[in-house]
Amino acid sequence: MNKVLSAADAIAGIQSGMTLGIGGWGPRRKPMALVRELLRSDVRDLTVVAYGGADLGLLCASGKVKKVIFAFATLDFIPLEPYFRQARQSGELEVMEIDEGMMLLGLRAAAWNIPFIPTNLGLGTDVVKVNPDLKIIDSPYDDKEWVAMPALKLDAALVHVDRADARGVCQIKGPDYYMDDWFARAADNAIVSCDELVDTEYFARGDEARYVLWERSQTSSVVPIAGGAHPSSCNPLYGFDVAHFKEYAASAKEGGYGTYFEKYIAGKSEDEYQQLVGGLDAIQQLPLPVY
């Protein structure tokens, strides 16, 4: 089986109105090359589920998003995601704002083919007040009330990993794989970009297979794009691009999304994008963050 596709062919599977999950966390290991491809498409009215960073910000700024299911949006060293912020403050976004753990439960419920997972998360807060779709239920086992966190079934998910083979065996060797395994499992169509396409034999060496977090049957397509997480990090391969994020955040204040889109994304291949940000070598030299 060969699941290797170009970014354009993989993104062609995403249609307007779909629910799209995006892996990574804030400025960390985001499938940004796939997001750029999506930004060049005419897809719209998406519902996006993400631990949001510039992926969420760019999609909101582009007008492709109808609804956001989120717990936060941040670039970490720039605490507030500038374009997400603008979109929220414009009043145009539909939102389902939930605890970051509730999002994990929703993805698990979807992955496990169950309608909801009971939890106490959100009780006593505005989470249960501003989300009329979030049902409060009785327990058959005690007298407390519980939140029925619904399955967050994803039509598609975008995830970036370190390595994959053509059959969809995916490896993440950074210190954290975030919730990427659950995004892949919760999605009908899990599109995975990878920094490196490897032979299947690679995984037989040493303990390489220990860094494979989901079965290949959960991977729908594999898109090899070295540096494809830029400007987010892909630890241990490269850190996030502080200078680029600063320029990105500044663009939200002056020039706006249109300027950024024209400069870096519109009509550009990923190769051209990488040349504009200093080239693949420069991306791979970006220092890892120290916390």
Partner: protein
């Protein structure tokens, strides 16, 4: 306290006061969000509560807290356990955690807000982070608050604009819960230390930082607080504590956390203001 320091900054006073929040916690994950809370938790772990657990702010538990400054990429650290973000929730929901967080708003019920500001939820005036982990943290484990600039804009009248964490609010208490199920511990501000053990979990003044008056606290709090008869002064950090703090923060990033890096004892400052200087 025989070895109380004479010369220390307000940031260092708040670090030492914040460390007290973790003194009797036993073996829990201590999470300090922001530099001063992180130093507070680290100081507690390095001194009176070595059973605490801390993370590297990424994916590992450490047997020794990392310094908050002066580290280089790839520098070795005392890892003892993998705990990526999905595993963090296993810890959070087990209850074995105490977080010290810095909300933008705190109300009379101990409810806190980091999500958004303004009357309209659909169209907030200022979108901030989002509720993040506040709902789950607050119903699962102990939380303390860190407030770098004590004012009525933080300690708001009424309720927070977006109630991101559960507090001692009878009107919002979920069915089957008691107010005592909620566990909000200390509030460390630039003026004082408080807790939520006044009548009906009212916010209560525990100690005033040197040179600060009860009136300053009352004026800068948007709701009524409990004022016990005797209000001691927040103890100065000891020389030993200052040494440990310096070792944990060799580049002195703590000096940049509070506006103008005030001294720990503000009596002199207050006197100057009184004579109109």
């Amino acid at each position: 306290m025989s070895n109380a320091a004479q010369d220390y900054t307000l940031a260092e006073l708040m670090i030492a006061a914040g460390a007290e929040a973790f003194r009797n916690d036993g073996e829990v994950l201590a999470t300090g969000i922001g530099l001063i809370p992180r130093l507070a938790a680290s100081l507690a772990m390095k001194t009176f509560n070595p059973d605490l657990m801390m993370t590297d702010s990424e994916a590992f538990l450490l047997s020794e807290p990392n310094p908050v400054s002066g580290r280089v990429p790839g520098q070795p650290q005392a890892q003892e356990c993998w705990m990526g973000f999905s595993r963090i929730f296993d810890n959070v929901w087990s209850g074995k955690r105490h977080a010290m967080v810095g909300p933008t708003q705190i109300d009379q019920y101990g409810q806190a807000n980091i999500s958004a500001l303004g009357d309209s939820y659909q169209k907030p005036k200022v979108q901030m982070l989002g509720v993040r982990g506040f709902p789950g943290n607050s119903i699962s484990h102990a939380n303390s608050f860190f407030v770098p600039a004590h004012s009525a804009r933080v300690f708001v009248e009424g309720e927070c604009d977006v109630v991101s964490s559960i507090g001692y609010n009878p009107a919002r208490l979920p069915r089957g819960y008691q107010l005592d199920d909620i566990d909000i511990r200390l509030v460390i501000t630039d003026l004082c230390v408080m807790d939520w053990q006044g009548p009906d979990h009212q916010l209560r003044l525990l100690s005033l930082h040197p040179g600060i008056s009860v009136e300053q606290v009352v004026e800068n709090t948007g709701f009524e607080i409990c004022l016990p008869e005797n209000i001691p002064t927040t103890p100065a950090p000891t020389e030993e504590q200052l040494q440990i703090i310096r070792a944990l923060d060799p580049l002195n990033l703590r000096a940049k956390q509070l506006k103008d890096n005030p001294p720990g004892d503000r009596s002199a400052v207050t006197k100057l203001q009184a004579v109109g200087a």
